[in-house]
Subunit: 179 residues, 2 copies
């Protein structure tokens, strides 16, 4: 996805999360940073007009349209280990992390390089007093979308999420379009 | 810091933050992960008994004593770029990020590999409804401490923080002892 191109992500059936992460196309050691983005935005919920930064404090993309307003940027992508620990699965799916690993392999990006993902449509509530987080069903309805515009040339990874809690225990497709 | 050793971090004068991050001693591609830790703990505030995970979902350390109960795991370490953007400094300090880069260089760990740090004694409040975060003066008083016990052999980086807001605009030393 090149600078000034836009990526529209659509929740086709509703209540479906998609994990997104990106790298500088020309230098894969520069990656999307939750820590820098949250610091500069001074918030953990993001919507239209919000800017996303790399680990080097460069602008990677901006949200230019958002029907939902609730996305998560706290949690790592679901993985085999997460399904074992959190859900007790004995033969776990490789999850968003496995999907991203497979997609990024051709670009020479290893699993260890995948940081905290931007979890589109994921509905995580945080209690102010205790810091307790709760994963709730997404508030996104069928056809809702979010559109981001690249501010540098990027490699973007995007996957529909396969974690039960995050998707109200129903796994559905995610639509995407580069404009 | 070897497995079963403990690290006691003391706020000697009070209201002073320290940024901490660690790597697997034998494989620097395994690092402390905010995203995995928050996911497994189901909370963003950590204290005694809480377990910290690597990007590979292995246990890196546990908090075995904590006088304060308020630490941050959302924000990236302060850096030159952060001081320019957030504080408008024209000749910025290199911050926690610069200190950690300098300390890790001898181990072959580059700045790009430094993830979101565990910001000991840092007091970040989060509003449940808007997701707005606010950096407040630490609640730690002189002599307060936190102790972590290593659950694998680690390279640990620790630095007193040089960001104004985080430390109530007074920069003080941080004590540490390996037990």
């Amino acid at each position: 996805m090149l600078k000034n191109q836009s990526l529209k992500i659509t929740d086709i059936e509703g209540e479906q999360v998609a994990d997104l992460v990106c790298f500088n196309l020309y230098d894969k050691e520069e990656y999307l940073s939750s820590g820098r983005t949250i610091d500069y935005a001074e918030k953990i919920f993001f919507s239209t007009g919000d800017i996303f930064y790399s680990n080097r404090s460069n602008i990677m993309f901006e949200i230019i349209e958002d029907h939902v307003g609730k996305h998560d940027f706290l949690l790592a992508p679901c993985s085999r280990e997460m399904f074992r620990k959190t859900y007790g699965h004995t033969d776990p799916h490789h999850g968003c992390f496995g999907n991203l690993c497979n997609a990024f392999e051709q670009f020479g990006i290893k699993g260890d390089q995948i940081p905290v993902t931007f979890n589109v449509f994921m509905n995580v509530s945080v209690k102010s007093d205790t810091g307790k987080i709760t994963v709730l069903p997404p508030v996104s309805k069928a056809g809702d979308s979010i559109t981001i515009r690249a501010e540098m040339d990027l490699i973007v990874g995007l996957t529909a999420c396969s974690a039960g809690l995050s998707n109200n225990f129903s796994f559905k497709p995610i639509g995407f379009q580069i404009i």
